[in-house]
Amino acid sequence: MSQVVRPYGDTTGDGMVQMSFTLPVPHDKRAEGAALQLAAKMGLAPAMLVHAAAMGEGHTFFVVYGSATHLVDMSAVEVVERDYPLLSPKDVNAAVKRSLRRPLVVVGACIGTDAHTVGIDAILNIKGFAGEKGLEYYSEIQVVNLGAQVLVPDLVERAREARADAVLVSQVVTQRDAHIHNTMQMSAAFREAYPAGEVPLLVVGGPRFDEGAAAELGVDRVFGRGTTPSEVASYLVHALGVRHPREPKKRTT
C-alpha cells in the first residue's frame, strides 16, 4: 500500500477539498480575487470559487473547492496509539478486584470556570456515551462526580476525602488556552498536596487537548474528542495495575 495519500473528492488522486472562510473586505470582484489568492497560497490549484456572499457591509464569505497540491505521508503521521487492551465492563470489574481488592475510586469534575459537564457526564454517568454505559455502571468503580466549576483546592480536598485512585477532569469550553492553564494548575496542586508516588492518576479530557501533551501538562493521560467510557475504564485498570502489581498471595497453612 502506498504511504502517500491525497484528499479524495470523487476520483483517486484528485486531491479535492472544500473550505469556507471570510475575508474582512466588501464583496466585489477584488474580494473574489483575494479569496482565490488565499486558496492558491494554501496549496489549492486549481481553485474554484463556488460561492461568495456579503456578510454585512465589510465582510465577504466564500466557499472554495480546489485540488490540494500537498501530499500526506502516512509513514510520518504521529498519533498516540492506545497502549492498553480495551476491556469489557465485566473484565474491568474483574481486573479491579484482582489488583486492588476493593472498588476503584474515581473523582470527576469540570474545573475552573467551565460549566459544561457534557464531557465528564458522558464518561461518568450511567447513561454514558456512544452506546456505552458510563463508569457509574461498573460495579467495581465508585464514582464521585463533583459537577461543574469546581475549584482546584476543593477538588484536591474531595479527592483526598474519597481516597481517590484516579481524578478525571473535563475541560470543554475554553478560551485563550484556559484548559491548559487550569490543567497545569490542577496537576501542580495534586503534586503539592500528596507525597511523591501517591498522587492519584490524573486524567484530563476535552476536545481541545492534544493527546500527546500529558507530560507537559503534568498528568498521566489526556483523552481527546470521542473518547468512550470503556476506553477510560480500560486505561484506569491498566495504569493502576502497573502501579499496584498483584502481589503473590501468601499461603498460610
Partner: protein
Amino acid sequence: MTAPAPPPQLDLDPRTVRTARALAERLGRPVVDIARTHTTVSVERATLRLAGLSGGDHERVPWVNHLVDEVRAQVGLEHGVTTPVWDALRRGEAPDLLTLAQKASAAAVSFRLPEGGDRTRARRAASAAVRPGLRRIDRQRAARERLVARHGDPEQRPWIYLIVATGDIYEDIPQAQAAARDGADVIAVIRSTGQSLLDYVPEGATREGFAGTYATQENFRLMRAALDEVSKELGRYIRLTNYASGLCMPEIAALAGLERLDMMLNDSMYGILFRDINPIRTFVDQRFSRQVHARAGIVINTGEDNYLTTADAVEAAHTVTVSQLMNEYFAKEAGLEDWQLGLGHAFEINPAVPDSFRMELAHALLARQLFPDAPLKWMPPTKHMTGDIFQGYLLDGFFNLAGAMTGQSILLVGMMTEAVVTPFLSDRGLALQNVRYVLNAAGGLTEDFRPPPDGFVQRRARQVLAESVDLLEQITSEPERAGSAPLLEAIADGTFGHMKRPADQGKGLEGVAVKAEAYDNPAITLMEADGWGGSA
C-alpha cells in the same frame, strides 16, 4: 413573513392543567416563605445600588461590597443594612453615602442599630434615598415603551434572538449592530464564564472576558446606547438581554432596570443546579431580582433548556414542564405578569431516536398551550451538535421549523459550530439565513398543522403533562423537615437535571442571614407598596 395563525391546539384536560398549577403553588409557597424571611449580602448591596452607590476602590472592589461587609461585621446583616447606614449618615459619620462607604472600607466608621425616633428617622432617610433609583427604573420603562411605539416591534414571531460574546465590549458593539442589521431582534451579551460565581459586580467598560463579556453597569449602558442607535436606523426596537443569575442576581437586576435592558436570564433553580449556589441564597436573591424585573418591565428568560443538556430530553421532558410551572409561580408571586415570562424549553432530543421531531413538536406545543400568554423562549440543539457542522445545520433547520410550526415567541438562533468554536461571523450569517428561510417558507404552517386528536403528538403531550403531575405529586409528598420545604428536599435529592443540591451546602451560603423582627429594606417596601407596572 406575514403574521402567522394562532398555534395549533392540543386536547389537554383542563382539570389536569389546574391540578398541575395548584401543585406548583403548594410546592412554591413554603419556598417563598423562606425567601421572605431571609436576606442576603447581594439583596442588601442591590438596595444600596438603587440608592445610587456605585464605583469601587483601586482594586475594583465595589463600594457596595465594602459597606455591606463592614455593616455586617459591626451589627450583623439581619436588620438590613439601610437602617444602620442612614443612621450613620444622620449622625454625621460621613457627608454622603460614597464617603461613608469609603470610610467603611478602612473600618473608620462605627455603625449601630438605632432605636425609637432615631430608627424611624434613619428609615425615612433610607427610603427617600432609594426612591430616586426606583424612579429612574420607572423612567427607563417608560422610555422603552416610547421607543417601541416609535420604532415598532419586529414584524414576525418568533423574535430572533442572537448571542454575541467576544469578551470585549468594544468588539461586541459592532457585532451586535451588524447582527441587528442582519435580522436579529434581540441581542444577548453572554457573560464571561465564571462571572456567576463572583460575589461582586465588576466596574466599568471591560475588554477582557472568557467566552463572554463581563456584565457591568457601564457595559450595559454602552450596549443599550449602541442598540438605540441601530433601532433608529432600522425602524425596529432592538432588545438587549443579559444575565441576572449567579451570586449577584439582585444587583445585576437593579443595574439592568437602571440601564434599560429589556430581557434578563433569570431562572429559579439554574444557579442551584448548575452553579452549585446555595438553594436558599438563590431563592432569596431570585425573589428580589424578580421584583425589580417586574417593576422595570423586563421580560425574564428561564433556563429549562439546561436540564436537557444533562438529562435525556425524552425521559426528562416532564422536568421541563415542572420547572416552567415553578418558574411561573415564583415569577407571579414576585409581581411579574404573563407577558414577562419568557419560559424556556429546548430542541434537545437525540436525532437518532425515531420520531424525535414529532416528539419535539409535542413538547413545544405543550409548553405553548400551558402558557398561552407567555413569550416562550425556544432554545436550539446543543447536546447533539457533534462537530459535524453539516448535520448541525440541518438540525438547526428542523429546530427553526418546530419553532415556527408551534408558534414560539423568542427563537434563540442555533449555530452549526455549537460546541466547536465560538461562532464565526459567517456562522452567524448562515444561521440567520437558515432562520429567515424557514420562517419565510413555513411560518404560516401554524394554520395548516393540526395534530389529530389521538395522534402521536397529542398523546405524547398528554403523557408528558401526566408525568409532570406525577412528579409534582411525588415531590409534594416528600417528608417535610423543619425549616425546609418539599421542593428543597427534591432539589437535594437530584430530581432536577440529576444534580443533588442540599439546602445547607453550596456557594454563597455565608452571605445569607435570617431576618430579624425589625428587618427593614426600603426597596422591597416601596416595590411591594407601589405595586408593579409602576408609572413614571
